[in-house]
Amino acid sequence: MPRLIIDEREIEVPEGTKVIDAAEMLGIVIPRFCYHEALGSVGACRMCAVKFIQGPFKGVQMSCMIEAQDGMVVSTTDQEAVEFRKRVIELLMKNHPLDCPVCDEGGQCLLQDETISGGHAMRRFPGPKRTYRDQYLGPFIKHEMNRCIHCYRCSRFYQEFAGYRDLGPMQIGDRLYFGRFSDGCLESPFSGNLVDICPTGVYTDKTARFKLRRWDLQRAPGLCNQCSLGCNTVANAHYRGVMRMEARFNRDVNGYFLCDAGRFGFSYANGDPGLWRRPLFPKIAGEVAGAADALSAARKALDDIAAKNGPGAVAVVGSQRNSLETQSMMNLVCETRGWLGPVFFFDPAMRLKTLSAVHELDGEIAVSMKQIENADFILVVGADPLNEAPMSAMAIRQAARKKAPVVTIDPRPVSLPCDSQHFAVLPKDIESYLGALILKAMGKDAASLGSESENFRAYLGSQLENFNPPESLDQCARLLAASSKPVIICGTDVTMETTPAFAADCVRLLNLCEKQAGLFNLLPGAGSFGAGLLSRTEVPTFADLVEYIENGRVRGLVFAESDPFHCYPDRARLESALSKLDFFLALDYFPSETARRASVFYPASTIFETGATFLNQEGRAQFASPVHCGGEPIRPGEHPPRVYSGLVPGGDHLPAWKALASIAGMEETCPDIAPEKFVPPSIPGFEALGYPVDGQRPALAKSGFKTQWGLNTFDKSQAPLTFELLMVEWIFGTSEFSAWSDSLAPAVLPPLMSISAKDAVRLGLADKDKVSVELAGGELEIVVSVSDRTAESVLIVPRHNGLEWQKSHDFRVFVSSEKIRKI
């Protein structure tokens, strides 16, 4: 470990540390533009000059290009270095349009900071400035090229780090231009990071354009709750609305970056000034009512039902977006009052998958996104990272950049921002492929393994009967055998019920063979891990609940942050079931259809207003701090009245869990907001957490749940020329957040049904043909996209908000070929 002296202070740093980072460890921030920890050094800007006084280098040198070595003596304040940096900033400012007053970067601009700190104030060069034409870069990013200082950060991020090629440097010298070959939307779903990464205002956030100045913002460390990864954010609020999202550095989770869905999908939390979309008023039978009235009306109605029909006639339904607080309170309420629930899952298969994914993951095999970046073999099974958890695709790319082979086994045409070997297989065959790959890689017979794997072997044996793996699997197996830190990324959306547990056992098996294998599950939502932990086995799923309603066993419902109209596949049946209920209550921050139809509706606060804890898919507990207190939205041209009052009008909404406590008559006994106090003691690991939690991973201990091998409902003998309709997620356009966030609307692509090239020939279809698929609930019209990366015998349809996929009437649907017609 080299020791060196910087500004008369000594420090010992790890081998390979750049001098600029060594200085930062001492709290000395050397000016820089091109250097970024995630992107590495290129020495393009010359801003980080320092004077090397002793050691192997002498004189003024770039601190981002030189690794710390023993015996170095460095001065950042030496007159020569200071003078050098002053000249550099003067040159960089030569062409700058000096339009800080109208630049949205102003106030958080590295170029402003370095210009001031460099001491450059007066322009000496009398010549003209070079100017550029700006480009249209899509709905999220505004391009203003004149502000560029040619640091290359954007192209290094966009091309090298994120793996997309449509934005980069062009021309040379003074004409060097950063942009696209022609105007058009940026292809990368990570384009929002350009706003953070560019040290100047070339790329600014279009959704927040001219709405704010940096110093006006209320900022708080938050979380993204749009997928199960739980990326860390900084939420920025102003004028009673969330205005902008920035990435917050978290080494283990998202690093420095966010995906575009997470960054721009916050506008659901704001009242739309024109339409007042965000519901702000409690309603009783559709009429606006006071908050206290609504809560007491709900309390009375539910008490009546419980008194008349027994407490089991009231059920509590949550969803995959509940926070840990809401989940715990639902659990507590159901336990105390004897109500049915909490029901977290709509699809029984999804429930099994999530439960086994959560309970099979233990501290030894769980890996973080950072560990994915350092993996040397990545196996993606039944997961589409870019669509289900976008930032995990970025992590996979980082591993691939370090030469880790990436193998995907999935029915979908999984595309990743890196090279990968894809096996397009049916969901029912994923386990056979995975098992065969693992067994081959271990180079042993399954029989030679210890007794630990007995169950697994028996199961695998049954899977591998009549299975002839393709040649290319052998090659992947050799690569896996050569790896030491492989990671399996397992999805829960299209996989079979047993696959997550199977993947976990595969990882354990690899670990028996002296590998440091890890498991990374992708779950259906931000609250899924908590739902998996808190689900009790005797509690039904929503699919069962619909039956209970139909036969009159359940008469009252509470929907806590849950919208069955978005998740349940049979709309007609849902409508008739809900109409049979005596009473149902909706607590939500979305103006969902359930909220509109509810007997009583209470507008719950968003995570931006009251904060919330989420467990991400690796079991990491993280807290999103509240950033503002919400309230009735400010219309354009308005300013909140300058009155001195502790209360913002409309800013007194309770979070769903508090409203639930009040409805259940438990406000007094309602425990303080601390997970260790109200996460049930049957779930270990939370006692020591304290509150709010930040980034800790409570012991992932196994509870009573046991994966039930052989519970697959998949029919292995699928009739020829029948197609399974696979409902999948897309990064934009399928989630509830996307449905209620106007800001994401321009990025949503029209729905497409993906089929394999062979099936297209069989069905006589071509790319972009419009087809009608006859389903139980009617005809589904959709455009076909033909891909040779899609598995045969599946129709892959997104749960698109603009598509009536609820005509499918079931979670698992098979369609015979004559039901698919070209129109």
Binding site: G106, F210, R213
Partner: protein, 156 residues
């Protein structure tokens, strides 16, 4: 009423005629000033001369095309110690930034002139106008239409 309740004032009165001298003294001062030139002026018929750096009502300046110079950068609002300025920006078709709304609450303002100092576009300045009356407090929240014509309205 008891006898002790009565206060007899005449007891404290001085000798008869002692007030004459003070009255004459006062009259002497009055007469002494009576023929001097007055120090006050006949406001509002007459007005004082205001110094060069006098700071009165705000004015939003326009460029040679008659458009507001202001780019809604918000620096004046940021620097204002009494939070008298409210600005909302808008983008025009060409991507240029303009104030959608610019309000100065003249009752909150302490006329420090910081806004004028902070403005990078010399778009806001303080005039010498100090006389402004209205019937309602709300009318002292000046918007763009008033601020653009401050001089005309209050000097006429």
């Amino acid at each position: 009423m008891e006898k002790s309740d009565i206060i007899n004032v005449s007891k404290n009165r001085g000798e008869k005629g002692n007030y004459v001298k003070p009255i004459l003294k006062g009259l002497q001062f009055t007469m002494g000033n009576f023929f001097k030139k007055p120090v006050t002026i006949q406001y509002p018929d007459q007005k004082t001369v205001r110094s060069q750096r006098w700071r009165g009502l705000h004015k939003l300046n326009v460029d040679e095309k008659g458009e507001l110079k202001c780019v809604a950068c918000g620096l004046c609002a940021a620097v204002c110690p009494s939070q008298a300025i409210t600005i909302l920006a808008r983008e025009d078709e060409g991507g240029t930034r303009h104030p959608e709304k610019f309000e100065v609450n003249e009752l909150r303002c302490i006329f420090c002139g910081f806004c004028q100092d902070a403005c990078p576009k010399s778009a806001i300045s303080l005039t010498k106008i100090y006389e402004y009356v209205n019937y309602n407090r709300e009318d002292f929240v000046f918007d763009i239409s008033i601020l653009k014509t401050t001089g005309e309205k209050w000097n006429s």
